[in-house]
Amino acid sequence: MSSPALIANSDSLREAFGKALSALGDEFPKLVVLDADIAGGTGVHHFRKSHPDRMIQFGIAEQNMMAAAGGMAAVGLIPVVTTFAVFCLRAIEQARLSLCYARRNAKIVASHPGLDVGPDGGSAQALEDLAAFRAIPGMTVISPADPTEMALATRAMLEYDGPVYMRTGRSPCARLFGDNHTFEIGKGRIIREGDDVTVVACGAEVARALAAAEMLAEDGISARVVNMATIKPIDSSLLSRCAVETGALVTAEDHNIHGGLGGAVAEALAATTPCPIEFVGVKDTFGASGEPEELAHHFGISATFIADAARRAIRRKRK
C-alpha cells in the first residue's frame, strides 16, 4: 500500500463531522442533535440549518444535556450530544449512568480535543478524555484522522447500536485518505507499510506519524504506520501482527500518555505479544496557549518526537 498523499487546506474534523451529520439527517429520521450553545464550534451548525426541527438546545448546561440524551434514546431517538471534549468530561458521570449503564443508543461527539485546540489554552485542551471514556464499560471510543474518515465514522457511529464517544478536532486537518477509504468500528488500518517498527496513531497524530515515517525513511528505517481510529474496542489482532512482524511499536496521540491510545495498545500487547513500546503523548501535564504545531513541538508530540521514539523502540528490540 502506498502512502496516502497529504492534501493541505481541507476541512477541520469538526466541520467535516457537521457536514456529514447534515448529509445523513434524512437517512436517519430518529437522529436528533443536542447542543449546549456552541453549534458554531462543534460543526453542527450545518445540521441546524438542514434539520432545525431536530436540533435541541440545552443552553450552557452539559450535565443535563448528557443525561437528557439518555431519556431521548429511551423513547427511541438517536441523540447525538455535541460539545467540547472538556465539557464531556464535566458530564462524564451522566454519560456513565444514563448512557452506558442503561446501554442507550446515544452518541457523544467531542470537538476541541487535545493540544489541537490551540490558543484557548490549557483549560480548554482535553488531554484526559480518551482515558476517561475508555474506562466506562460498554463505551465505544473513536478518533478519526481526516475529513474523509470523519464522514465515514459519523455514518458508522449512527449505524452502530450503543453508546459511542467520538473525537473531532478544532484545527484545519490534512486530507489523508481518498474516496476509496473505508472505516469500520474496531478495525485499525495499515496506511503505510514498513518492517522495522510500527507507529500506531489516532486523530491528529496520524498525519504526524506519516511525516515521521518519511523522516525515518531518509535514515533507512522502514516504519509501518497504523491508523487506530477506534481506541475501544482496540484491534488486538492487528496489533499482535504488527508486534510480530516489526518487533517494536510507538504509540502517538494528542492526549496524556496515561490511559489513552498508548494504554490501550500496551494492555492489548502485554496480554498477547509483548514487545518494546514507546509512548508519544503529553507527559502527564496540562496544555498551554499557542498554535497547534507550536504546541505539538513544545509538548513533544510532533513528527520529530515520533521519529525519535521509533529509533528508541528499535534499539530496545532483542538482538
Binding site: 443535563n64 437528557a68 449503564y101
Partner: protein, 298 residues
C-alpha cells in the same frame, strides 16, 4: 389559565372505592419496603415510607401504564430520580403486577434484579437506571422532549427527593423543561424535610422552595403527600396544565407510618433492621400476623 386552574375549588371526583384501593396499595408498599430492607440488611426505609402514597397514586390511578404495556411506545413513563427509594418502587411494582412480590424481597442481593438502585437492564419496567441524584430528572426531560418530537401523547413523571434538589443538575433540568414548555412532564417532590445526615435546613436550605420552582417557570402546587385525594387531584390538574411543566411539592413525613422512624434522620440512610424492629414496624403499618410471617420468613 394555569392560575385559574390552581385556584379553582378542587373537584374531589375520586370515588371512595378508588381512595380505599390506593390506601391499601400504599400500606402494602410500606410493609413490603420495610420487609425487603430487613432481608437486605441495608437500605433506606425513611424515604420509601414517605413516598408510598405518591407511588400508590401514580401507579394505581394516574399513569397510563400497566404490566402488559411496558414496551408500548404510548405508555406513560415514570423515572425514580431519587433512586434510593428503590424498595418503594419495587414494592409498587409488586403490588400492581410489574414484578413478583416474593422475588422483590431479594433486594440488594447478588444475582437479584432488584439492585439497591433501579437498573433498567435488570427490570425494563423501571424505565431507566438511577441512583446518582439529579440525573433522573434530566432523563425525564429528555423523554418528554423525545415523546413530543415523535408526537406521542404519553406523559412523563419523575419523583425527586428534597435533598436531591441541592444538585445543580436539577436546576439545569428545571430550566430546560420550562424553556421547552414541557407540559407532558410532571415532577413530584417527596418533601420529607430530612436528608442523609440531618434536616434539609441544617445541611443546605431549600426554602423558599415553591418560589424557586415558580421563578424557573414551572406550574407549582404544594400538597399533602399523604392525602390520596389531594395527590390525585393535583396530578390530574398537572395533566391539564398547558405550556408549562408541573411540579407537585408533596409535604411528607419521613418514615411515615412507623412511629419510631418518623422524622428521625437516622432512618434515612442505609440501615440494618433487626427482626424486632421489623416486626414492630410492620405491626405499626397494620400488617396482620400472617402477613408479617409471610414478609419476614421467606
Amino acid at each position: 389559565m394555569n392560575q385559574q386552574l390552581r385556584t379553582a375549588p378542587l373537584d374531589l371526583a375520586a370515588s371512595d372505592s378508588l381512595v380505599e384501593k390506593l390506601a391499601e396499595a400504599a400500606r402494602f408498599i410500606r410493609c413490603h419496603s420495610v420487609a425487603s430492607i430487613f432481608h437486605a440488611g441495608s437500605g433506606h426505609p425513611g424515604g420509601a415510607l414517605s413516598s408510598a402514597d405518591l407511588f400508590a397514586c401514580l401507579y394505581g390511578a394516574e399513569m397510563n401504564v400497566w404490566p402488559g404495556a411496558i414496551h408500548e411506545p404510548t405508555r406513560d413513563r415514570f423515572v425514580l430520580s431519587k433512586g434510593h427509594a428503590a424498595p418503594a418502587l419495587y414494592a409498587t411494582g409488586a403490588h400492581f403486577g410489574f414484578c413478583d412480590a416474593k422475588a422483590a424481597l431479594s433486594l440488594r442481593k447478588l444475582n437479584s434484579p432488584f439492585q439497591g438502585h433501579p437498573h433498567v437492564l435488570d427490570l425494563p419496567w423501571v424505565e431507566t437506571s438511577t441512583g446518582s441524584l439529579g440525573q433522573g430528572m434530566s432523563v425525564a426531560v429528555g423523554m418528554a422532549i423525545g415523546l413530543r418530537l415523535q408526537k406521542i401523547p404519553a406523559r412523563v413523571y419523575t419523583m425527586l427527593g428534597d435533598g436531591e434538589l441541592q444538585e445543580g443538575e436539577v436546576w439545569e433540568a428545571a430550566m430546560s423543561a420550562a424553556h421547552h414548555k414541557l407540559d407532558n412532564l410532571c415532577a413530584v417532590i417527596d418533601y420529607n424535610k430530612l436528608q442523609s445526615d440531618n434536616c434539609n435546613d441544617a445541611i443546605m436550605r431549600l426554602e423558599p422552595l415553591a418560589d424557586k420552582w415558580r421563578a424557573f417557570g414551572w406550574s407549582v402546587a404544594e400538597i399533602d403527600g399523604h392525602n390520596i385525594r389531594e395527590i390525585l387531584d393535583h396530578l390530574r390538574l398537572a395533566g391539564a396544565t398547558r405550556e408549562k411543566p408541573s411540579v407537585l411539592i408533596a409535604h411528607t413525613v419521613k418514615g411515615k407510618g412507623v412511629p419510631y422512624m418518623e422524622n428521625i434522620p437516622a432512618w434515612h440512610g442505609s440501615v440494618k433492621l433487626t427482626p424486632a424492629q421489623t416486626g414492630e414496624a410492620l405491626t405499626a403499618l397494620g400488617a396482620s400476623a400472617e402477613e408479617i410471617k409471610g414478609l419476614m420468613h421467606v
